[in-house]
């Protein structure tokens, strides 16, 4: 993809919905979302002017699940370049600072098109009580406000870069980069939904191995990975 076309909207339900019928290369950015989407019907807190809420329409040569790991890496890199702070990745693609979620990535596959929804908490001064212990923003971490424009430019750069890397080098390199960038890939005590265990690396598709406390080795394809 040579160039992105950015469509700026004020208040939308969800950028994911706005992106549905758009051609590859389109980026929908909104000031505010009233129904920001998370995984499995969950919401993404999207107050006006505080975060970067965008959906990017991509057309990868092979839309594979490993793309979601690449998008997590791209989001982490964009945040690190913009705010000069280190982030962690929680499988498959939550971006964390000090164990609190600063960005989330949700990907929808539509035939050959992929819609990547990326939400980054940038200048939030506070979160509602139910999110306060789970979420953070760049501003809350550093005390500084950041330009969402610069962050978007960095994000699109990184997304393009990682998508090209995936296409030219294949998924193995993405898996290696992810394993280096994420403290969650191995040796981490986690709870996956109701199963407790220790993470034990990625399989060739990017799925997460868990050595469960009951002795079984399990492969997680989808689910909530949480520390314990």
């Amino acid at each position: 993809m040579d160039q992105f076309t950015i469509l700026r909207l004020d208040c939308v339900g969800s950028t994911m919905v706005e992106a549905q019928d758009k051609p590859p290369g389109t980026v929908i950015v909104a000031e505010e979302q009233t129904a920001g989407q998370g995984r499995m019907g969950r919401s993404w807190y999207s107050p006006r002017g505080a975060g970067l809420y965008c959906s990017i329409v991509l057309e990868p040569a092979q839309p594979a699940p490993v793309l979601t790991l690449a998008l997590g890496l791209a989001t982490k890199e964009a945040i690190e370049r913009t705010a000069s702070i280190g982030c962690d990745l929680r499988w498959p693609n939550d971006v964390l600072i000090a164990e609190r979620k600063v960005a989330g990535v949700l990907v929808q596959l539509q035939e050959d098109k992929v819609i990547a929804g990326i939400g980054i908490n940038v200048n939030h001064a506070r979160f509602p009580a139910e999110l306060a212990s789970l979420a953070t923003s760049l501003r809350l971490v550093t005390g500084v406000e950041y330009s969402r424009e610069l962050l978007l430019a960095n994000l699109l750069d990184s997304v393009e870069c990682y998508c090209e890397l995936l296409e030219s080098e294949g998924s193995a390199v993405i898996l290696r980069l992810f394993a280096q960038a994420s403290s969650y890939v191995s040796g981490r005590r986690v709870l996956v939904d109701e199963v407790a265990g220790v993470t034990d690396g990625l399989d060739p598709s990017g799925f997460l191995w868990i050595r469960a406390d009951n002795g079984r080795r399990l492969l997680v394809r989808a689910g909530n990975v949480r520390p314990r």
Binding site: R39, L106, Q108, Q110, F207, L218, L219, R221, A222
Partner: protein, 157 residues
Amino acid sequence: MTLEEIKQLVQVVIESGVAELEVTRGENRVRIRRTARSAAQEMVLPPAAAMPPAASAPNPSPAPHAEAAAAAPAADESLSYVKSPIVGTFYEAPAPDAPPFVRVGERVTPGQVLCIIESMKLMNEIEAEIAGTIVARLVENGSPVEYGEALFAIRPD
């Protein structure tokens, strides 16, 4: 339909791995639906593991249950099967507390969303390609599916 026949149908459902089956005979109609699995529903054993699948494993059983499978819709050549384009987890609804996209017995039209297959937060909405009636849902909500695994059986209009 006699109690004995219903018992036989239940047995077919158990042995074949079909998640939901509806049979109409004259004015009688019976729908058998396996209950959702709990706990480790998003986990799968590695393919290489020698352990037999748990009793509630939803995978359509291969050879050992060939006889039962033959009686289940899985063997009906007049049916059209919706298959998973990716390895992932099957969800019958857009959210845990939302109603399923479709139920057995419902008529569907091309382009209608039937389910979601999630693979590492890659959400793949599976649509009907033909018009017809859903006669069986072949996997349970929240269970792992393989590439090419049949998800629904549709009787074309």
